[in-house]
């Protein structure tokens, strides 16, 4: 429903601004071009999406997620202390983080939601605990090893080397997740 408001808002603002400035005559042309670009974008994404979903399936099957989970254990215990006593929660959490890292969005979300439910069941009221807040902050700051969609768009637009943004993406998402968690830690102490 939110998206309906956003979309209608975008159309309304364009129409009124176009009327005000007299540039509205270009709108119908822009609409047909936009529709065409939508299909072009979908087609240019198709190959990469097909490939990376396939690779994701292989990574899942060979147990890469579980292996990463073992490497991640120390960090996990630091951010989510409840894991030490709740091994089921630990499984969900590490599954969620590793699937996100490998770009397996389809696997990451159900796992993350299971972890959120488990964390919520640790207390009786419907108030988010500090750890639940941290889980969600972590999920809103995408830490991804291979941002396949963006790379696909880049290559469709003729980038010399579509994956050359990788180091920048890694640094940027680590900073965002790290500082987000730090912010959550500070706020968790003062917010009731």
């Amino acid at each position: 429903m939110v998206i309906s408001w956003v979309w209608t808002g975008m159309v309304a603002i364009s129409l009124f601004y176009g009327l005000l400035t007299g540039q509205g005559g270009n709108l119908s042309g822009g609409i047909s071009r936009g529709a065409q670009e939508g299909i072009t974008l979908a087609i240019s994404l198709a190959g990469s999406l097909c490939l990376w979903s396939g690779v994701g399936k292989v990574m899942e099957k060979i147990g890469l997620t579980a292996l990463l989970g073992r490497l991640l254990k120390p960090v996990l215990y630091k951010v989510f202390p409840s894991c030490k006593t709740d091994s089921i929660l630990q499984g969900y959490l590490s599954g969620n983080i590793c699937a996100n890292f490998l770009g397996l969005g389809n696997a990451a979300t159900p796992m993350g939601i299971a972890a959120a439910k488990r964390l919520a069941s640790h207390r009786k009221d419907s108030v988010a605990s500090n750890e639940l807040c941290r889980l969600i902050v972590l999920n809103t700051a995408s830490i991804q090893c291979i941002p396949a969609t963006v790379a696909a768009v880049r290559s469709s637009l003729g980038a010399a080397s579509p994956f050359d943004i990788l180091p920048a993406v890694w640094v940027s998402s680590l900073c965002s997740a790290g500082l987000g968690l730090l912010c959550a830690k500070v706020l968790g102490k003062i917010w009731d």
Binding site: G38, I62, I113, A128
Partner: protein
């Protein structure tokens, strides 16, 4: 770093397939299975991309995008974020497909290997659809008091936009 990013993909393809063979799995069949799922997902995404690109295109041809950039440019200049990315920064936390549409347009307009184009790509790769994620998780967990989650998550997005602008300049000059 350049060497890592150019060899990562081919090595990953080889390593995962060889590993699967070693485990007596059938990697080619798995690739096909996953590929089919990926295309099915894309099929459901096509109408969203079309509708969003229509709205984004309307914003651009009517001049709203440029006006928004000018309006926000004093704020953006303070943080060193390119003003051309204003619409993307505003829409990224709200809708993933809208952000992808805006980002694609920006990369096409300013050049995919330009500083603006790279900043856009890094922004898209290192942030998430915050409002959507927050509502899905809290909805599923039955939480009504979300406390500081949204401010902290939006702060993380802001840091992502900031570092995307910095790294896109630093790593490519």
């Amino acid at each position: 770093m350049g060497l890592i990013s150019s060899y990562l993909v081919p090595i990953l393809l080889f390593a995962t397939a060889a590993w699967a063979l070693g485990k007596k799995e059938d990697p080619y069949d798995l690739l096909l299975q996953g590929g089919r799922e990926g295309l099915q997902l894309l099929w459901t995404l096509v109408p969203t991309l079309v509708m969003m690109l229509i709205a984004v295109s309307m914003l651009r041809v009517s001049g709203v995008t440029a006006w928004l950039g000018e309006l926000l440019s004093p704020v953006f200049r303070v943080f060193g974020i390119p003003k051309e990315t204003a619409l993307l920064v505003l829409i990224r936390p709200i809708s993933g497909s809208a952000a992808l549409s805006v980002g694609t347009e920006l990369m096409a307009t300013y050049g995919v290997d330009s500083t603006v184009g790279r900043t856009v790509a890094v922004m898209l790769g290192s942030t998430e659809t915050t409002f959507y994620t927050v509502s899905v998780y809290f909805g599923a967990a039955g939480i009504s008091k979300t406390r500081f989650t949204l401010p902290a998550a939006l702060f993380a997005d802001f840091v992502g936009f900031l570092t995307a602008s910095i790294t896109a300049r630093l790593f490519f000059t």
